[in-house]
Symmetry: C2
Subunit: 314 residues, 2 copies
């Protein structure tokens, strides 16, 4: 920004007749660039194509939700969820619960009182119990872009391939954070009772769940289809009547769909110059509307951007 103002000042010295334009240029120079401007200037190699083995298509009557699994953090859960999807386990189940300012949850009904007993379903070779995977040992293999602005709940926060992550060097652990749009694995009291057949997306304040549940991934496309649903009228936002539940038409692994039928999905690399510029613009936001910049940016306040292109354009 200093450099741009300097250039505007130089222009004023060299071309005093352009005073008005130069003042406008100086005004623009004081404005932080918008996110859309920064994204338009990004380079193709700053975008990552997720592995289709890690992409789930959750088909609802209202449209398609695309989720990226995070096997770097929760490999056993990712494998089990893939197995369940390939056994068509989710097809015909529904969204059971939308608790305001917390989560939307779908899949295995928790209890017959939730409307219907879980009929025996094909689970393929999916396990019924998994090690918790609430945290994982810190290592140097997973990509890491630290965020220097701090966090209330984790000693250190940052991003790994677009996923928001917390770290604790004392315990030597790292974990995915319950930010908006993250997908977790519901369970009973037993920490090993989650199998991936019941999942939730974070639609509100849910950081209290961090390190208490396995986080399986992130919604890349279609969050409004999960967040914009009527809230459930029962305890914890469970729907009490069958016709309130949104049916799940199918959950498929992208790798199982012909390439030409898959939308082209790109996720901005969180270790890219453009993502760094987005973070900076959020911290220092100043333009015609915003006069007071926050000075910092929270790890849950800036999701890694996603581009969805038409199919056949890989």
């Amino acid at each position: 920004m200093f450099q741009r103002i300097t250039l505007a000042a130089i222009a004023f010295i060299l071309f005093p007749g352009l005073a008005t334009q130069t003042a406008a240029a100086a005004d623009n120079a004081r404005n932080t660039p918008s996110a859309s401007t920064l994204l338009a200037q990004s380079k193709p190699d700053e975008w990552r194509t997720p592995d289709p083995e890690n992409l789930l298509y959750l088909q609802l009557p209202s449209g398609r939700v695309i989720i990226e699994l995070a096997p770097g953090f929760t490999p056993l859960h990712a494998a089990n969820i893939r197995t369940l999807a390939r056994a068509h386990y989710f097809d015909g189940l529904s969204i059971l619960r939308v608790q305001d300012d917390f989560v939307s949850q779908w899949g295995t009904p928790e209890d017959p009182k939730d409307g219907y007993a879980p009929t025996p379903r094909n689970r393929g070779s999916a396990k019924t119990s998994l090690p918790p995977e609430f945290t994982r040992p810190l290592d140097a293999v997973l990509p890491w872009t630290g965020l220097p602005d701090g966090d209330l709940y984790a000693p250190e926060v940052g991003f790994s391939e677009g996923f928001p992550v917390g770290r604790d060097r004392t315990s030597g652990q790292e974990w995915l954070l319950h930010c908006y749009g993250m997908v977790g694995v519901a369970r009973d009291n037993d920490p090993q009772s989650g199998d991936g057949g019941s999942l939730y997306a974070v639609i509100g304040q849910a950081r209290r769940l961090d390190r208490n549940l396995a986080v399986a991934g992130r919604v890349l496309v279609g969050m409004p289809l999960l967040s914009g649903l009527p809230r459930g009228d029962g305890d914890k936002g469970f729907y009490t009547a069958a016709d309130q539940r949104t049916p799940i038409r199918s959950v498929q692994v992208a790798a199982d769909i012909p390439v030409k039928q898959r939308p082209a999905i790109r996720v901005l690399r969180t270790d890219s110059a453009t993502f760094a510029a987005l973070l900076d613009a959020a911290r220092n936001r100043h333009d015609a509307f915003y006069s007071t910049a926050p000075g910092k940016v929270g790890v849950c306040d800036i999701p890694a951007p996603v581009r969805e292109g038409p199919a056949n354009r890989h």
Copy 2:
């Protein structure tokens, strides 16, 4: 908690035959009390009855939203909103915009492109321009309960009569925070262009708006009616077709309604022992489900509880 474990241990010593029960008691003793248990134990004088001059009833086809204005922070905006409501300015307008993970906005259409031009409407004596009131000078008159756990964006945070507040002793200012459920005043680029005829409720990550807009109050009842709406398909979540917009039947000031028709609203005092216990339970949460406590609680993560009783029970 220490005390309760000690009592359980004493019980074990005195009545060894009760070993099983005592072990269960010790288990319970290690559990933090649930929010519902703490609220059930609260005392009547820990609850505040909001001034009916500060309560707005926003009537939608789906039900009633109740908003508490915060004249301690934004008095000129509170007065103008009351005047507009009393002129029936809002009646027949609609919810114009629902931007996912950000805000739901209603009232004056921003632009004819938003579907229809704002027809001339009765505004009573409401002003068309107001001083910003984005922050106010710190003073010792407004109630204040500091939260010691810190915040990413404000030097100090706490609560004032249930409203989440940021403070900066250096600038000598304090301001209402854009937490979930807070209600702000939409405006154009001109900081004085907000008049309270267009309002928004925070449904997502909106702390970046802090100190850039006037915050008029908080939704006490009915947030799901604003947060559970389909997201708008246009730029910034504006609806592009008239039939997507939720109509506003009326906005009324509670003081203008006969007492017997008003629901009894109580807000837990944020300087009460029960609210302090709720904060502590959130920090230290440990029970059959939660094994890892967050250790802290964010100012936006724990809204002051509200009780809505039937009318006629004041």
